[in-house]
């Protein structure tokens, strides 16, 4: 197969998938080595960047997908038919933040931190696929543990949780590292 054709197929695969495509899947479908797939994807990615195309390939949550070039966001925002979701409420955002930095975490722990009931914002986050349940905590009542999903990473353009912005709170003597490792 010609190299150009292989790159074309990779382009089609990344475009058509509803989720970021892993190098492994690309390699399997094209019957090439994962390393070769990696090189080709990187070449494609650079071509789009270099030519300042309207769409770009980005790597998130362990895979590749197409996004619009952020430089042109102000124009994209003017469109009528861009699927939109209502932005997350402040309450939901706070709950999400607690889960992101303290995962895995139970509902009681989130409520203790935020000082309010979080049932409804937990539901919102579960519905939007930003968080998920992951097992139960050992101990009385064995409460459900919550973690962020891979969609969460994509939603915020992150590769993994280490890329979460570091939070330094001067009024607080717990460093981010301590928070992350709180469990």
């Amino acid at each position: 197969m010609r190299l150009g054709k292989i790159k074309g197929i990779i382009e089609a695969l990344i475009f058509a998938s509803s989720e970021p495509v892993s190098l492994r899947e690309i390699a399997e479908i094209l019957k090439i080595h994962e390393a070769t797939a990696g090189e080709l994807v990187e070449e494609l990615k650079e071509e789009y960047e270099k030519n300042r195309r309207g769409i770009q390939i980005v790597q998130v949550a362990g895979g590749y997908h197409f996004v619009t070039n952020p430089d042109y966001a102000e124009f994209v925002r003017k469109m009528k038919k861009v699927p939109r979701q209502a932005p997350l409420s402040q309450a939901a955002l706070e709950t999400l933040a607690v889960i992101a930095y303290k995962q895995p975490v139970t509902r009681a722990e989130i409520e203790a931190l935020r000082g309010v009931k979080v049932e409804s914002s937990l539901n919102t986050l579960l519905e939007r696929g930003l968080i998920e349940e992951k097992g139960r905590k050992e101990g009385p009542g064995r409460p459900i543990l919550y973690v962020t999903s891979s969609y969460f990473l994509r939603h915020f353009g992150l590769n993994d949780l280490n890329e979460l912005p570091k939070v330094e709170d001067p009024a607080d003597n717990l460093s981010t590292e301590v928070i992350i490792n709180a469990e």
Partner: protein, 260 residues
């Protein structure tokens, strides 16, 4: 139309599924094309025979569908009967000659249906061709304010839901597969007598009532053939007041009283 199953009326054991055809019009068109008949001048006696012969050799899967085929059988028998009668006297100002031909209404329906079938086939080709073009089904925008497209996970769930709903509906349609224990099964002749005696007690009778207590596919086929034979022998008539409403069966003599 070679892709369709052909059938042989000489071999009654050779059964053809009724659902090969989309409905009675589809079957009629097939028979007309098969015999290379001019659609504007259908030899009604011949085509009626072919149609009935087909129904005698058919396998039933869907009882509602069966009713549609019987209604058409009845219509064909009526047209055949009217063709034998001298044309009724008519007033001068009545519309064109074609209106007098008892076949005309059916021909118009067949012509219209033939176009629908052709359009459907072409749309099927377009669909096939276009299924090679995939649209974007996910992806996100790095610009947070102009946020994300519909959650792709949600899309999948919807599809699953639809599938689940469909299979639920399928499981609700009656199955005539309670076979195993050998049962005493009446012949077509016995079933015809049974239907006539039921009509003696109560007439008209809803078509569905005849099939209500049947447990096996074989019994269903027997009842269907019995109704068909009674139509052919002009012992009974079927009628449907509202399109796709309940089909009713009544004794032929009563029909004459009602209409005549």
């Amino acid at each position: 139309m070679k892709k369709w199953l052909s059938f042989k009326r000489q071999q009654p054991e050779y059964r053809v599924k009724l659902d090969v055809f989309e409905g009675p019009l589809d079957l009629l068109l097939y028979l007309i094309e098969q015999a290379e008949i001019d659609i504007y001048d259908i030899p009604i006696a011949y085509i009626t025979e072919e149609y009935l012969a087909y129904l005698r050799n058919v396998e039933l899967d869907d009882f509602h569908q069966a009713g549609n085929f019987l209604i058409m059988a009845s219509t064909l028998m009526q047209i055949k009967a009217r063709m034998l009668l001298p044309a009724p006297p008519r007033l001068e100002e009545e519309t064109g000659e074609e209106e007098d031909d008892p076949r005309w209404e059916l021909v118009e329906k067949l012509l219209e249906y033939r176009k629908i079938k052709k359009a459907a086939a072409l749309l099927g080709e377009y669909e096939e061709k276009w299924s090679r073009f995939y649209s974007r089904s996910g992806g996100a925008f790095p610009d947070r304010e102009c946020e994300t497209p519909a959650d792709p996970v949600g899309d999948l769930t919807l599809w699953d839901l639809v599938q689940a709903f469909k299979s639920l509906l399928e499981s609700l349609t009656p199955r005539f597969e309670v076979e195993g224990m050998p049962q005493e099964e009446p012949s077509v002749q016995e079933m015809m007598e049974k239907i006539l005696s039921r009509l003696g007690q109560k007439s008209p009778l809803p078509f569905s009532a005849l099939f209500a207590e049947l447990t096996s596919r074989k019994m269903m086929v027997t009842s269907f053939l019995a109704v068909l034979e009674l139509i052919i022998r002009q012992k009974i008539k079927v009628r449907q007041d509202v399109l796709f409403g309940e089909i009713e069966i009544f004794r032929a003599e009563e029909g004459h009283r009602e209409t005549g």
